[in-house]
């Protein structure tokens, strides 16, 4: 019952980042899952980098979660039970740490996608990706 070959074949996605403005987020599909790509503002990067590690549930430094500090790429699936957190649109609730908020069971994620409050055990996953040019990435 494991994934069939055609399902496995659909396993990479290329994204053009040129139109994304600073402070904007886009959602792309990868393996049937949403991937959040946010071009972070300087303030958001500063927020994420300055967090004291001891307050984190799943201790990861911001530098370890990004390849270029302004581009944050995350699998947009809450690590609790797989809902899609909100916070992509400017009008969305972003939670207490200004990142994302999962409406199902109330997990709050920060501007690095790290779990800060709520039942989720882990940070939002960073998918394997690479920059194939300055303005495009290949996920998967």
């Amino acid at each position: 019952m494991n994934p069939a070959k055609d399902t496995l074949a659909m396993s990479t996605t290329e994204v053009d980042l040129a139109p994304v403005q600073t402070g904007q987020s886009i959602t792309v599909m990868w393996r049937g899952k949403p991937v959040f790509i946010r071009k972070r503002t300087a303030a958001e990067i500063e927020d994420a980098a300055s967090v004291d590690m001891s307050v984190l549930v799943d201790k990861e430094a911001d530098e370890a979660r990004v390849q270029k500090p302004e581009w944050l790429v995350l699998v947009g699936i809450c690590t609790h039970l797989g809902c899609v957190p909100v916070g992509q649109k400017p009008t969305d609730v972003k939670g207490e740490y200004n990142g994302w908020f999962c409406p199902c069971h109330g997990s709050h994620y920060d501007t690095s996608g790290r779990i800060r409050k709520g039942p989720a055990p882990k940070n939002l996953a960073v998918p394997p990706y690479e920059f194939i040019s300055d303005t495009s990435i290949k996920i998967g």
Partner: protein, 482 residues
């Protein structure tokens, strides 16, 4: 089953068949003259009612499958087509949809009957376990059926529930991929759920057959919980209980029909009339009402098992071991037990508050080693949810009291009614957002649920005296049941 001695039938066709396959002899023995205690109350209708519901679900389900398309791009529309264009499609679907709820209502009452009158006790343990197995199979079937219309609740319910399996250490993620047949809930998932949703009712049917077979070996329990001693205590199943069951079934079907015709979506969720969208989670995901108590228990475990909670649990088990073992009451050291429970409770509270955050997001109690978890909160929740079903199956060995019926066990009766009330509270808590007071109410009710099975039942089995039992069903009936 019914071979051997056989009396001839007068009707030549019946006799021709029966002499080759004694099906009429069997029906006569098992449903005609079958000796049944004569003091049944209306709680004893619900087995037959559940059987009728299973038949209704099978028949309507087969007709729905003729019009349903199991593909993500067409499933939602095919269900809408059933509602609008298929002849009487709306009726068949509403019967099926509400039928699931009423099947669960019948089965929950049937289970309560078994608990209240001690029907699970020796010699009916296997009968009880087969019943719990039917219940678990029903839950799996109902869950997969709810996914098929491919609305928002279908999709997100499926996502949340399949993700439960990711809590299993090491192999969890591989199991989830295996369930999905992909990297998320998608077309392969829908296809297999449809295949299994069609298969499972027949598996249930087979287990129901075993359940009824086991029942006909031990015979029915009754409201007094004492075995019939002779002919004066029983009535033939037909016509006495065929009539009583028919009457009860008709009353039940009236209530069911009211919902089908006047409030068909009352027990559903409006979000399931929005087509599934993998990019948008509904603001509030709730399962169907019959899963809510279990869902509440899943969400109540907001804390992991750290060294303090682990030590508390080990101590509580140590305190209970003498109760579980075959020691006599005199050998039990009550003082030591109470002391161990007090220390266990204190350790548990320490471990709990060392994880609880106050309004400002700070940990309320800083303790060394408190943030190292043997069992994560997520795995703990899943274990409690599945464990809560296992405990029901183990009831015959947790409640070993010699008296079956709660009528003669006032303490058990109180504990059981509190258990039922708190299960309703869990149901309400499961339907609310997991925040504020409801989290704590859910946690306390979950604690009672677990304690009821693991602590209260074993203790009551040993220490409850109970009232005097009547000498026989016949005499109790003549005197008027108290």
């Amino acid at each position: 089953m019914a071979s051997g001695e056989r009396t001839a039938f007068e009707n030549p066709v019946v006799e021709w068949i029966d002499s080759r396959l004694p099906i009429f002899t069997m029906m006569q023995k098992e449903y005609g003259v079958f000796p049944t205690p004569k003091n049944f109350n209306y709680f004893w209708n619900f087995g037959a009612i559940a059987m009728v519901m299973l038949m209704i679900m099978l028949v309507t389900g087969i007709f729905l499958a003729m019009h349903y398309t199991a593909h993500t791009s067409m499933a939602f529309d095919s269900v809408e087509r059933i509602m609008r264009d298929v002849n009487s499609g709306w009726l068949i679907r509403y019967i099926h949809m509400n039928g699931a709820s009423f099947f669960f209502i019948a089965v929950y009452i049937h289970m309560f009957r078994g608990m209240y009158y001690g029907s699970f006790k020796k010699p009916r343990e296997l009968l009880w376990i087969l019943g719990v197995l039917i219940f678990v199979l029903m839950m799996a079937t109902a869950f997969m059926g709810y996914v098929l219309p491919w609305g928002q609740m279908s999709y997100w319910g499926a996502t949340v529930i399949t993700n439960l399996f990711s809590a299993i250490p090491f192999v969890g993620d591989s199991i989830v991929t295996l369930l999905w047949g992909g990297f998320s809930v998608d077309n392969p998932t829908l296809n297999r759920f449809f295949a299994l949703h069609y298969l499972m009712p027949f598996v249930i049917f087979a287990v129901v057959f075993l359940h009824v077979w086991a029942l006909h070996v031990t015979g029915s329990n009754n409201p007094l919980g004492i075995e019939p001693k002779g002919k004066q205590d029983t009535l033939p199943f037909h016509p006495y209980y065929t009539m009583k069951d028919t009457f009860g079934t008709i009353v039940f079907l009236f209530i069911y029909a009211f919902f089908v015709f006047y409030a068909p979506d009352y027990m559903g969720h409006p979000d399931n009339y929005i087509p599934a969208d993998p990019l948008v989670t509904p603001a509030f995901i709730v399962p169907e009402w019959y899963f809510l108590p279990f869902y509440a228990m899943l969400r109540s475990i907001t804390f992991g098992v750290n060294i303090y909670i682990g030590a508390g649990a080990v101590l509580a088990v140590l305190a209970m071991i003498p109760v579980y073992s075959k020691k006599t009451n005199k050998e039990l050291n009550i003082g030591a037990m109470v002391g161990m429970f007090a220390v266990a409770g204190a350790l548990f509270m320490l471990g709990y508050f060392a994880q609880l955050k106050n309004g400002a997001g700070e940990i309320m109690l800083n303790l060394p080693l408190a943030d190292f978890f043997f069992v994560s909160a997520k795995l703990g929740g899943v274990a409690v949810m599945f464990g809560s079903l296992l405990l029901v199956a183990l009831m015959p060995w947790l409640d070993t009291h010699g008296i079956r019926s709660a009528r003669f066990r006032p303490l058990y009766k109180t504990a059981l009614l509190v258990f039922v009330a708190l299960t309703f509270v869990l149901g309400i808590a499961g339907g609310k957002p997991a925040e504020g007071l409801w989290v704590y109410i859910g946690q306390l009710a979950t604690l009672y649920y677990l304690a009821f099975f693991l602590v209260i039942l074993p203790l009551l089995s040993r220490f409850e005296k109970g009232r005097d039992l009547p000498p026989s069903i016949h005499e109790a009936v003549l005197q008027g049941a108290k």
